[in-house]
Symmetry: C2
Subunit: 213 residues, 2 copies
C-alpha cells in the first residue's frame, strides 16, 4: 500500500477547500448530532454538528466546538442568551434533512420548518429537541473556552435530561446507539451506518481482554 507523508508545509500549501476536506477527515469517525437552540422569542435554530464529544460522567458533561466563521452565529448567540441547547442523534432516515440544516438560512427562518423536522418543547427547558431523534440530550451551558490559536469556541454543557429508548439500554448502562439507528460522520459530508464488532472487557495488565457479547 503506497503511503504519502504530508508535512506541515504541504498541508499549508493545499487549496483552501481541499485542505478543509482533507484535514477534517483525519481525526477519525465523528458523532452526528443536531444542535437545537432558540432565541429569547422562541425563534428556533437547528444545525448539524460533528464536534460533540464526551467530557465527563459526573457531572455528565459534553463538549461541542462552535466555529463562528462556519456555523451560523445564531447558535452561539442563542446558547449565550438562554443557556440552553439540545443535542439530538442523527439517524439514517434523517441524514438529508440533518445535512440541509448546514445551509445558511436567515435568522428569522427556522431550519426545523425548512428541512421538515419537528421541534419538541419540554417544560422549563428553553431549547427545542428534535422529535424524530431516538436519542436526545438537553444541556445547560456551564463553561466556555476560546482557542487562542484560531478563535474557535469550546462549549461545555451539563446534560440535565437524556431521552433514550428503553430497548437500547443494557444492564450495565451501555446504550446501544447502533440499535437506535445513530449514524457516524467522516470528513465534512460523508455519512456511515455501523456494524458492531463487539464490546471488550475492562483491560488489565497480564490478561487479554475478552469479547463481552
Amino acid at each position: 500500500m503506497s503511503l504519502s507523508v504530508y508535512e506541515k508545509e504541504a498541508i499549508v500549501a493545499m487549496e483552501k477547500r481541499y485542505r478543509a476536506t482533507f484535514v477534517n477527515s483525519l481525526s477519525g469517525f465523528k458523532s452526528a448530532n443536531l444542535l437545537g437552540t432558540s432565541d429569547t422569542n422562541q425563534q428556533t435554530n437547528l444545525c448539524i454538528v460533528s464536534s460533540a464529544f464526551h467530557l465527563g460522567a459526573s457531572p455528565a458533561l459534553m463538549g461541542v466546538i462552535i466555529r463562528p466563521d462556519t456555523v451560523p452565529r445564531d447558535t452561539l448567540e442563542n446558547i449565550r442568551a438562554t443557556g440552553f441547547y439540545t443535542l439530538n442523534h442523527v439517524q439514517k432516515e434523517m441524514i438529508v434533512a440533518a445535512h440541509q440544516t448546514s445551509a445558511r438560512y436567515p435568522h428569522d427562518i427556522s431550519e426545523f420548518d425548512q428541512v421538515g423536522l419537528t421541534p419538541l418543547w419540554r417544560e422549563k427547558f428553553s431549547a427545542p429537541f428534535v422529535q424524530e431523534a431516538a436519542i436526545r440530550l438537553g444541556l445547560i451551558l456551564r463553561e466556555e473556552h476560546t482557542m487562542a490559536i484560531n478563535g474557535t469556541h469550546l462549549l461545555v454543557g451539563e446534560i440535565i435530561e437524556a431521552h433514550v429508548p428503553d430497548s437500547c439500554v443494557s444492564k450495565d448502562g451501555f446504550v446501544d446507539i447502533e440499535q437506535a439507528g445513530t449514524v457516524a460522520l467522516s470528513g465534512l459530508d460523508c455519512y456511515h451506518t455501523s456494524s458492531r464488532v463487539g464490546r471488550l472487557s475492562y483491560a488489565k495488565p497480564d490478561c487479554q481482554p475478552e469479547w463481552l457479547d
Copy 2:
C-alpha cells in the same frame, strides 16, 4: 418505541460505573486512535483515546481530552516534557491490541511491547508512531485548557505530519477512512466497522443536497 427521560437527579443517582458507561454512550460515535508518546529517555507510551476531534484546518488542529484520573499520567507528562505526540487510527485487526493499551502498566513498561505493536520513529520527531496504523498523525502541542468544572485537560495540537494511504485520498481532498479500515467506538468499549451511506453536496438554502457518489 418506549423511551425514558433521565433527568439530572436520575443520572447523579446512578451507580458510578453504570453512570460512566451510560454517559459515555450519549455523545454518539467516537474516533478510535492510539496516542503515542515518549519521555525524554525514549521510554515509549501508547494509549487508546476516543476523544480526538477536529479543531481547525488552517492551521491543522486536533483536540484530545486527557483525564488525569482515568488515563495513566505518563501520557500527559510525556507530552508536556517533549511537546510531541502521535495519533494513529485503530483498524479492525488491531482492536484487541489497541484496547489492551488502556490497562494500567507501570511507567517503565512500554505498551508497544505488551500489546505487540511496533513503534515507528521519524526524524526530528520525539514521539513514536504506530507502524501498523494506516493513518498516522504527528502533532506538536500548541495550547492546553483545563476544564474548571472537572479538571479535565484539553490538549490542542497542530498536525505537522500526516501519513495517509494514496488509495484513500479523493480528488477533492476527502480521505476515505472507511477504506483505510478505521473503526469507530461507542460507549467505553464497543467497536464498530462502518458502511458508507454516501457523501452529500454542500448545503445551500432553496435546494436539496445531492448524493455525490
